[in-house]
Amino acid sequence: MAISEKEVNYIAQLARLSLTDDETHTYLKQLNDILLYMAKLDELDTSKVEPTCHVLGLENVHREDEEFPSLSKEEALLNSPDKNDSFYKVPKIIE
């Protein structure tokens, strides 16, 4: 199940990663090597096996829908690379 250069570029686009040509070629080879190795799992018949989600079998945890203190607006914006008053600033979305 080898992946092609076209697929590598498609995955990079899905993952929102700009890659240089060099990176694309390196990842093409490395991903194929690693995926070939991962295919080892195909040896196992798991049709009747339940998947593990939480290792101790813990299920959903619920709490009352109550307010409790959270970060202030200033704290929440503290690490933003670009902001304007109390908003995160991003490049223009609508042309």
Partner: protein
């Protein structure tokens, strides 16, 4: 002996009788940092010296007034730099978070502060805890304190090096696939990965959420019990944490009766270094001579652990790391044309090679049409491995094994071959796939004077048995050393 070279319990005894002060301990640690840090490079950030001495002095004054002091007694503790510390930078060793200063503390940081531990600084790691050598940090390469030509292991390489080089008394690390135990083995210190859910992960920067666990790095098993005591417990801010009472680990260290120790036959196969094998076998014979029953067991699905681990870890990483979008915090690329271009360039230039490789792999294995073949398949294989362990624990109490197939390797040796690096995780990833608690204890040296560790594993939430077995083994090793 220098104060910095002592373990936490030795220092606690000296503090209790007021023979030494926290300020003197801090000063001894800084002597060591001045002497070793330039070569070892364990830390990404060391806090302001004045601030640290003020904190130490405050605790000393409280002690003089006979106030109650928490069980960490003002001892200097280093924190891996993927755990959020309020007002102290937390970078994950990534350009992406180079300037990130968390507005909140991780739960374990709150607990350490409440127990009067002093957070001395933040230690280096492979970027976002992805790697096995601490060579994949965006800022610096940490060196093995026993020989600076060698890697300290990873990803908690900075944490383990900081303890081994006496640049702190104890350390906090995180373990997703062996990231505490393998560097502990490489650096000759004691590293514990508790049961998944035993310690809150709130404030730990997420990598592989179904595998990640915070744990301890110390100079001996008794100190492990002390630090685990502080950080263990359920947390409403971490829905995966387990609501079980926390035993008194320090009081439960002495072993009652004899153990049945299991040796997984699949672990002593091809690829295991001879010196490591001999060191582990030496531990087995010491336990046998001590009257414990040693039996061979089987974990038939061992060969499937590494592929199942990397599928799970990379899939979860690709999802977790989607949050680094250059908007809410962290790095943003400049000179971008539009929003999409900003995302692509920010993530393309903000992440390092290993992180991008894992995001790519994980995006692929989660993408439409492949989820069942990869992620779901790996989750089912985890069940099969867990069943192997359940069967093994019907026959034995403790499983003994190597931590890693080799001792530390030279810096640069595996940097260009990711698959070879991944295969080194064979013995350690299993505890993460199954959630079981496991500890690495120093057990010997190679002929080139590099440390070797041995791994003990037991049933979920049975840290008291794990620690008491490790404590016993540590004593047995000390008598023959």
């Amino acid at each position: 002996m220098k104060l910095s070279h002592m373990n936490a319990h030795e220092l606690k005894a000296l503090l209790a009788t007021k023979e030494v002060s926290c300020k003197e301990i801090m000063s001894s640690i800084f002597d060591e940092i001045d002497k070793r840090e330039y070569d070892v490079a364990a830390y990404i950030h060391i806090r302001d010296k004045k601030e640290l001495f003020t904190e130490a002095e405050k605790i000393d004054n409280r002690r003089l007034k006979a106030d109650n002091i928490g069980i960490l007694d003002g001892l200097p503790i280093s924190i891996k730099d993927n755990i959020c510390t309020k007002a102290i930078p937390t970078t994950c060793a990534s350009k992406m978070l180079e300037n990130f200063v968390p507005p909140y503390d991780a739960t374990i940081i709150k607990k350490i502060r409440q127990a009067d531990g002093i957070i001395i600084g933040k230690t280096n790691l492979d970027e976002f805890a992805m790697g096995s050598s601490t060579e994949h940090s965006a800022f610096k390469i940490t060196k093995n304190p026993h020989n600076t030509d060698y890697v300290p292991g990873g990803t908690s390489g900075g944490a383990c090096a900081s303890v081994a080089a006496n640049e702190c008394i104890m350390a906090i690390g995180s373990d997703t696939g062996g990231s505490i135990r393998q560097p502990a083995s490489f650096c000759g210190v004691t590293g514990l990965k508790p049961t998944y859910g035993r310690v809150s992960r709130f404030g730990l920067v997420a990598y592989g959420s179904s595998l990640d666990q915070i744990g301890t790095v110390t100079k001996n098993v008794k100190d492990t019990a002390l630090l685990l005591q502080v950080i263990a417990g359920v947390d409403s801010l971490d829905a995966t944490s387990v609501d079980e009472s926390v035993p008194n680990y320090c009081d439960l260290l002495s072993l009652n009766g004899k153990l049945t120790v299991g040796i997984p036959k699949e672990f002593f196969a091809e690829g295991l270094d001879h010196e490591v094998e001999n060191a582990v076998k030496n531990c087995i014979s010491l336990l046998e001579k001590d009257g414990h029953n040693v039996i061979e067991i089987s974990i038939p699905h061992t060969p499937y652990a590494v592929p199942a681990y990397y599928i799970t870890a990379c899939s979860e990483a690709s999802s977790n790391l989607a949050r680094y979008d250059g908007v809410k915090y962290g790095y943003r690329a400049t000179d971008t044309k539009n929003l999409m271009d900003m995302y692509l360039k920010t993530r393309g230039s903000g992440f390092g090679a290993e992180v991008k490789r894992r995001i790519m792999l994980g995006t692929y294995t989660l993408s439409a049409g492949y989820y069942d073949a990869f992620y779901l398949k790996a989750a089912k294989v985890r069940t099969l491995i867990a069943q192997d362990f359940a069967k093994a624990f019907e026959l034995c109490d403790i499983i003994i094994s190597p931590v890693a197939p080799t001792a530390a390797y030279k810096i640069g040796e595996k940097a260009d071959d990711p698959l070879a690096m991944y295969l080194g995780d064979i013995y350690s990833v299993i505890a993460n796939l199954t959630g079981l608690p496991a500890i690495s204890v120093p057990c010997g040296w190679t002929t080139s004077r590099l440390p070797i560790g041995v791994q003990l594993t037991t049933r979920a939430l049975n840290e008291p048995l794990l620690l008491s077995a490790a404590y016993r083994l540590e004593q047995l090793l000390a008598t023959v050393a």
